[in-house]
């Protein structure tokens, strides 16, 4: 095994380092402390979502409904405060809704054995539709005076570092602890690596899968609160955007194989940094929107191809509906 071979994490890190170096040399105003903080701040929410997605992808699943969990419960909280409820009560309701949503996802996937791709595609639509039809008055839920103070979750700085970067850091630590230090984390890896073997060895795989989706939804809701605080509103229409692809891009690019059981928080951080550097550099260069999409598309394609080379599908355990 002494062959000269990189794994994906190293390749992506090398690409990131190279890109960073090139931008630092050729792009005026890129390598400044302020721009570095802006770069991180701009991808903090994406990074938090990447962590959420990483948990289910490591467990050999995927959660397409993540953006619904980001948009609807925090949107509900903002709407309730606007309608005169207190902030803590509104947040409690939002968290309860998120947990209920995670439980539905988990139940469908673990007990009803619907492939995660289809289950979350449907539940995401359901939750977003529910929000639009019954919960919100308008697509963009505006900030109201009752929320004052809460915007500190996404605005301002602590010790000179923007709050949203702290939020990303806290989320990283919590998820790293969950995945590496707890028994549940070890179970998630085991299930992702080989679900049948995991079940045979006595791991309670169904409850663990449910747990994954509940945690993912909660992190999604947290990301939504940070997002809402940072732009002083909740644009719930974000559900219709391409954000979910960016999240998958971060995860896959960082080297968390879609076939499960591999990767961790470090991969999400690397993937987020690479995306952040690309976006920041392209904005400074004032590249057109279409050009940016083209570049992002090519990078995702390369990442997926590399992923399938480096993490070949496990033919013994792969089943239809897996991705």
């Amino acid at each position: 095994m002494k062959r000269f071979r990189f794994n994906q994490q190293e390749i992506v890190f090398a690409v990131f380092a190279l890109l960073f170096l090139v931008f630092s040399i050729f792009l005026n105003g890129f390598l400044t402390a302020e721009n570095m903080l802006t770069l991180l701040q701009n991808v903090a929410v994406l990074g938090i979502l990447g962590l959420a997605m990483a948990i289910v992808v490591i467990g050999r699943g995927i959660d397409i409904s993540l953006i619904a969990a980001l948009a609807v419960p925090p949107g509900l909280a903002l709407q309730m405060v606007q309608n005169g409820h207190s902030l803590p009560f509104s947040l409690l309701i939002a968290v309860l809704l998120t947990i209920a949503f995670g439980l539905v996802n988990g139940w469908l996937i673990a007990y009803a054995e619907v492939p995660s791709l289809f289950a979350t595609l449907a539940t995401g639509l359901l939750l977003a539709g529910l929000g639009q039809a019954a919960l919100f008055q308008l697509d963009v839920v505006q900030w109201s005076p009752g929320m004052d103070g809460f915007e500190r979750l996404g605005q301002g700085t602590v010790l000179g570092v923007p709050t949203s970067i702290w939020m990303f850091a806290i989320a990283c630590i919590v998820v790293a602890f969950l995945l590496r230090q707890t028994r549940w984390g070890a179970y998630i890896y085991a299930i992702g690596d080989n679900p049948y073997a995991a079940r045979v060895t006595g791991i309670p795989s169904r409850p663990i899968i449910v747990l994954q989706y509940v945690i993912t939804a909660l992190i999604g809701c947290f990301a939504g609160l940070v997002l809402a605080a940072s732009v002083n509103s909740m644009p719930t229409r974000i559900f219709n955007s391409t954000l979910i692809y960016d999240v998958i891009l971060v995860v896959v690019l960082g080297g968390i194989g879609l076939s499960g059981g591999r990767g961790g928080v470090l991969n999400v951080i690397i993937g987020t940094l690479l995306i952040g550097t690309m976006l920041n550099g392209m904005t400074i260069m004032d590249i057109s929107y279409a050009g940016q999409n083209l570049i992002k598309g090519v990078v995702l394609l390369l990442a997926v191809i590399t992923d399938s080379f480096l993490n070949p599908r496990n033919e013994e355990t792969a089943q239809q509906g897996d991705i």
Binding site: Q137, D139, Q142, P162, N232, I284
Partner: protein
Amino acid sequence: MKTFGNPTRATLAALALATLTGPALAQQGLDEPFQKPFKEALAGKTVAYVPVAMNFDLTEGWYAGLKKELEPFGVKFVIRDANWNTNAGAQAVTSLISEKPAVIVVHNPDVQTYAKLLQRAENEGIYVIQINMGSAYRSSAFVGANWVEIGERQTEGVVKACEGKSNKIAIIQGALSAAASAYTLKGVENVLAKHPEIKVVSSQAADWDAAKAKAITQTVLKQNPDLCGIVGFWDGMDIGTAAAVKEAGLTGKVFLATSGGGERKGACELVKSGAFDLNMSYDVPTQAAQMAGTIKWLLSSGAKPGSIKGSEYTTLIPITKENADSPMSCWNLSDLKK
């Protein structure tokens, strides 16, 4: 006084006239001959409304305004929500053509998609009113904002604020595929052509997305802390632009011009808080009232659909700190729905 040389005679004449006609007026009313045909022309007619999506201030405002004006006359008001899906919208218009409502009020997602369908609808005898976003086909009426003018007036505001400063400005566009965004950009270009001293340091599309607008603005402000103005294309998105300006501590130093429908929370409140310096409003309730007036006129005129065509461009309200407090500058969706 020359004709009625004698005042007593004039008074007598007037009295005589009054005694002749007075009792007649008091005893039986005079039938106004046009109100009955007007009522008949409206009662039982169907008006169909196809917005690009419901659930945002503009389309909710138009809906509430039209409903309020038309339903008391017995007009049936139906809605076909395209929900940001151009195909769904085209299907809705197609099926409406066979359902034959009297009027279709349509909010185009772009210039081309519905154009042929709208022409067919008018050929089939349905009046078509286009709102805020016109198509390539000119129908009975267009009611809406002149996007080029919006772009021009926003940019004029920014250029004025930049006098004596760095002359560096940024442009936050909407979605590239949206004609409203392209028309506004044209207006921006028109003004910039007259002001060669202004330098555009960034012109990017944020996809009507507040988070993207914030990210772009943050980066631009870090690169150009001496930026003197930003032209944003929609207040719903420029909440993010404003948040970035505020975080950089540049509120009041960077002039932020935007536009929108003038809903109180999204426009006046934000101008008052200093987030926006100028918000060009196309006052949705007035647009709704103009549309309703046009519908009443068309239905009662009996004109053949497609035989007369006209435009009603909205008179814009520039909302600044001076008039943000005035109850006339903005409107509340909740009031309109009452």
